[in-house]
């Protein structure tokens, strides 16, 4: 296999131009990972160094450190280059601790579960 020359890299669809940069990786289950891309292949399998998961609940967010991650390509939705000089998130969002974001996540999950059971109970009414 031949390697793309340096001039081809920036014109190709490979992830080579993203190597050693800080990236946002969106996964199929909706998770958002941040980290530095160290390796990849044609399936978009990727190695992220210093990876962390960004959990967002409403206007709250938290970056949970994970370490070195190998991501299986089939789970990748999108890989985005982060502009470092720009604000990463809208200014109205506040950073909270891991315990607080976990609590907020739990509340959100319970609310959506409740909505689901309510809908199930109301099904006999045949709305829509």
């Amino acid at each position: 296999m031949s390697w793309a020359g340096p001039e081809d890299i920036y014109l190709s669809t490979s992830l080579a131009s993203y190597l050693d940069k800080k990236l946002l990786v969106l996964l199929r289950d909706g998770r958002k990972l941040l980290g530095i891309l160290r390796s990849f292949d044609q399936f978009a399998n990727a190695v992220l160094e210093g990876a962390c998961e960004r959990v967002i609940v409403g206007d709250l967010y938290c970056d949970i450190p994970l370490g070195l991650y190998v991501i299986r390509g089939e789970n990748v939705v999108l890989i985005g280059e982060l502009e470092l000089e720009k604000e990463e998130l809208p200014p109205h969002m506040t950073r909270v601790s891991e315990t607080e974001i976990k609590r907020a996540q739990k509340v959100e999950r319970e609310a959506s579960d409740l909505k689901g059971t309510m809908r199930k109970r109301m099904e006999f009414l045949d709305m829509d």
Binding site: S12, L78, E87
Partner: protein
């Protein structure tokens, strides 16, 4: 390879890529490959409110397998040409 060649001709044009998770991204088509993976530049998310984490992403790589639609510029579609190419492909030429 028909759609690969087709998308290659669209490089440099402004497209909107809608993903299977309902995220829609508009940007300039930078490149495509054989899997129809797509690279976009100067991207902006159509529904910014719903996807705040995408705010500072300007360039991105999208895995071909998660794409639902690619919305093209109207002048990007030459039906006549596509039609001919399809027949040629079907004949095995």
């Amino acid at each position: 390879m028909l759609f690969f060649s087709y998308f290659k001709d669209l490089v440099g044009k402004e497209v909107t890529v809608e993903l299977k998770n309902d995220l829609a991204i508009r940007g300039t088509l930078h490149s495509v490959d054989q899997y129809l993976n797509i690279k976009l530049e100067n991207t902006r998310v159509v529904d910014q409110e719903k996807f705040p984490h995408m705010l500072s992403v300007r360039n991105c790589f999208i895995r071909g397998s998660v794409v639902r639609y690619v919305q093209l510029p109207p002048e990007g579609v030459d039906i006549e040409l596509l039609h001919d190419a399809t027949r040629r492909e079907a004949r095995g030429g």
